[in-house]
């Protein structure tokens, strides 16, 4: 009897003890440790939302979709709320959010979407309350991503991710003395990381169609997102930006802000398109039908020498079991030695080449104005992006959460946590943080109806890529469509929105 008694006392103690430990220990959620802050695990654990429901729309699994669902589940367990998540492929995300907005249907509390839609969505979004703007984690978000989240003077998007386009290349080729020698012998030039898009095409073409990594399969020069309605417009903007964005000319990159006349068919843009068309020779088989997923598999799987777009392909290449792990490095996008000056109407020489980092749209989040659960919704987003969660998510490639806080730009994080090589980690961090310092940044066309502008652009560029039209004629067609679109939406409305973008590009903020 006594033995039983002591045993049960022991059990009770163990149970109580373990409950105690659990209340403080959040590592069961996969994080390393809870980091104190406004929305830490402990802070959210203290809230009680039982009996309430939060509805979230997000991207398909895994990119952004998986972390959304993961943190939703944790949020449920911590607060007692019920969280519903729906996953939607990127191509249909816009209409899935827009239809309920326009018809006044309170369908979702929290939305994850592409930050370029801010021009269309801002009127339906709840501003981020001061409480959340002043948190330490928010203060650490770099200027670029706070700019991206802001409409006029109001922050309406909640930064959860940082995105940009940059160049990715294979170090086992570029740093290989044998390859350097061979390249020198065949072309008479030094093999180096391209600094202009002309050079990029040249190097890419040289390394196309032969097996330079010795795996028995032919390799190719460049993998690019070239499938028409699959984010190809962003690839093209990356390519054209240095030729068309002249640091000496203010007042608009896509349009002349004064007249709202499209600049898309000016010589700088046309040059960018000519080089895009030319680059197709260095694509892998089927390369002109590559969507983002294909680009990731192609470069990330070791098929191509170079690539540029979002982080994903780079992260894929750096996965633990990847055959080309630590054989890749990052660099800023190539630039242009000759840049069009539209005010002067002539080309200008640049040495070193002109760079125009494209602060590409990326994943962002927001709370609907119609939501009846704004408190809970912002708590969720704040929890989603709390320091412990972000550090966890950054380490999982498929999540698509990429550096956006100053603290993320520390090479040691990538070396220690993920076992990256010093060179890989340093070039990665420097490339990313370097974009923040640029005075010649390019942003997306953050105006109402951005979808119409970009789909016209994609259609025109695609025609040129397919050889149906010359680059000049294709872009003339785009310019004409843009003029009509501006007229339909209203010149003043587009101008007012575009002024915000130009202010960012001209560093007036």
């Amino acid at each position: 009897m006594k033995r039983y008694f002591s045993l049960s006392v022991l059990i009770i103690f163990v149970v109580i003890g373990s409950i105690n430990v659990h209340a403080k220990d959040y590592t069961k959620y996969g994080i390393e440790k809870d980091i104190p802050g406004e929305c830490s695990y402990a802070a959210i654990d203290a809230k009680d939302y039982s009996g309430r429901t939060l509805n979230i729309i997000t991207h398909a699994v895994p990119v952004m979709g998986e972390p959304t669902a993961l943190h939703a589940k944790q949020f449920e367990e911590l607060t007692g709320a019920k969280v519903n998540v729906v996953h939607v492929p990127f191509g249909d995300l816009f209409q899935r959010i827009m239809i309920p907005f326009q018809t006044g249907q309170n369908a979702y509390d929290v939305l994850f979407y592409g930050s370029l839609w801010i021009g269309d969505f801002n009127q339906y979004l709840a501003p981020v309350p001061e409480k959340y703007r002043n948190t330490k984690s928010m203060q650490e978000v770099t200027k670029n991503y706070r700019d991206v989240a802001t409409w006029g003077d109001v922050m309406v998007q909640f930064p959860v991710d940082g995105d940009r386009h940059y160049l990715k290349y294979r170090t086992d080729v570029f740093d290989n003395p044998k390859m350097q020698e061979k390249y020198k012998k065949d072309t008479g030039k030094e093999l180096r990381v391209p600094t202009t898009w002309e050079e990029y095409n040249e190097v890419a073409l040289y390394f196309t169609g032969w097996d330079w990594d010795g795996d028995g399969e032919p390799n190719y020069g460049t993998a690019e997102v070239a499938k028409r309605d699959d984010l190809m417009f962003s690839a093209f903007i990356s390519r054209a930006a240095p030729y068309a964005k002249n640091p000496h000319v203010k007042g608009g990159f896509f349009f002349d802000l004064e007249t709202m006349e499209p600049l898309i068919n000016t010589p700088g843009w046309v040059r960018g398109l000519e080089l895009f068309v030319e680059a197709q020779k260095a694509f892998p088989p089927g390369g002109n039908n590559f969507g983002l997923g294909d680009e990731i598999f192609s470069f990330g799987g070791g098929q191509t020498l170079m690539s540029y777009s979002w982080d994903d392909a780079f992260i894929q290449a750096m996965q633990k079991d990847s055959p080309i792990r630590n054989k890749v490095a990052a660099a800023p996008l190539p630039g242009a030695a000759k840049v069009w000056n539209r005010k002067a109407g002539k080309w200008e020489e640049f040495d070193p080449p002109n760079r125009a980092p494209y602060i590409t749209w990326g994943w962002t989040s927001a709370v609907s104005k119609m939501s009846k659960n704004k408190d809970m919704a912002f708590d969720y987003l704040c929890f989603f992006s709390n320091q412990a969660n972000t550090l966890h998510d950054l380490q999982i490639g498929r999540f698509g959460v990429n550096p956006y806080r100053r603290t993320h730009f520390d090479p040691n994080f990538w070396i220690e946590k993920l076992g990256w090589d010093k060179n890989t980690a340093t070039t990665y961090v420097e490339t990313l943080s370097g974009m923040d310092d640029s005075k010649n940044r390019v942003f997306d066309l953050r105006v109402p109806g951005v979808g119409q502008f970009m789909s016209s652009l994609a259609a025109g560029v695609s025609k040129a890529l397919a050889g149906q039209e010359t680059p000049q004629k294709a872009l003339d067609g785009v310019a004409e469509e843009w003029r009509q679109t501006v007229d339909r939406i209203g010149k003043d409305r587009v101008r007012a929105a575009y002024a915000n973008v130009v202010a960012l590009e001209d560093n007036k903020k």
Binding site: R228, N289, Q452, A466
Partner: protein, 288 residues
């Protein structure tokens, strides 16, 4: 005044339910097509026939329509020929009959949007098995999706894979219900296999053929998901079909008003051409 009697008991419930569900969307679409509903201006303002004027000058729409008619008619004809052929093959006793028949039916049961994704991985020119197989057979790798002509053929290929079973099922059921007498008569006449087919089987199958061709034409004309997944209408505009173009204008660009006018124009054109096709087919088949 409509006098209700037993015959209305049959037709009216279905008709009323269908009309009740469809009348509002249809009228609404008609009204929207005269508005400028888009991403910044939700609602029903009145802009007259502007959308229709724009549509007549929109070459992309008309090009898509002619491309669509080619792809739809082409793929439906191929489906019909192959479907008929397959039905004839498994009509009489063969080994593994049940297994083969079920297998032939299966593609139709799959979700088009999902199978298109699988097909895209198959036709992937670097990573998919299609080019592997082509090379094993001793040919050069093909540009399945990256040149205009091939991309159209690839879309048709996937459509044929998915929908030939539809033809196969209808035609096989038709064959199985054919009466025996004409065949006996043909055998007594000493007709060969070919003559029997053209003088007996084919004429007997005419009504079912017309029905099957028509319904497939209607369905094939909505060709969109395959295009969306395989090529996004590219390269250039090589595979852009009407439905895909309407989708781009409507839900991607979010020009709801304009897309409504495109749809209604499409609807009218389709109803007229399908009526003509139906008349011609019925006439021809009846004469044969």
């Amino acid at each position: 005044m409509l006098k209700l009697n037993h015959k209305h008991f049959f037709l009216l419930p279905g008709l009323i339910v269908l009309v009740a569900i469809i009348i509002f969307p249809l009228l609404f679409t008609l009204r929207v097509s005269f508005s400028s509903w888009d991403v910044v201006k939700p609602g029903l303002d009145w802009i007259g026939g502007k959308n229709y004027v724009r549509l007549f000058e929109d070459m992309r729409f008309w090009e898509a329509l002619s491309r669509l008619s080619l792809m739809a008619v082409g793929s439906v004809l191929i489906q019909y020929i192959i479907g008929f052929g397959l039905a004839l093959l498994v009509w009489r006793d063969i080994i593994l009959k049940r297994f083969v028949r079920v297998l032939f039916l299966v593609p139709m049961m799959t979700t088009p949007v999902i199978m298109s994704v699988i097909w895209r991985t198959i036709l992937h020119e670097s990573l998919g098995p299609a080019n592997d197989i082509v090379q094993v057979l001793g040919f050069e790798p093909l540009n399945w999706l990256s040149t205009g002509g091939m991309a159209v053929l690839s879309v048709i290929l996937v459509e044929v894979w998915q929908w030939t079973p539809f033809m196969f099922l209808l035609l096989l059921a038709g064959l199985l219900s054919l009466p025996d007498e004409p065949y006996m008569a043909a055998a007594i006449d000493g007709a060969g296999a070919f003559r029997t087919f053209f003088s007996v089987t084919f004429p007997l199958m005419a009504p079912i053929s017309v029905g099957a061709l028509l319904i497939r034409l209607i369905e094939a004309s909505k060709l969109m998901e395959t295009v969306y997944v395989l090529t996004s209408g590219g390269p250039g505009t090589a595979t852009e079909t009407s439905s895909y173009y309407i989708y781009i204008r409507g839900l991607r660009d979010y020009q709801i008003g304009y897309a409504a006018s495109l749809s209604l124009t499409y609807l009218v054109i389709m109803i007229i051409s399908l009526t003509i096709i139906a008349k011609v087919l019925t006439y021809k088949m009846a004469r044969d």
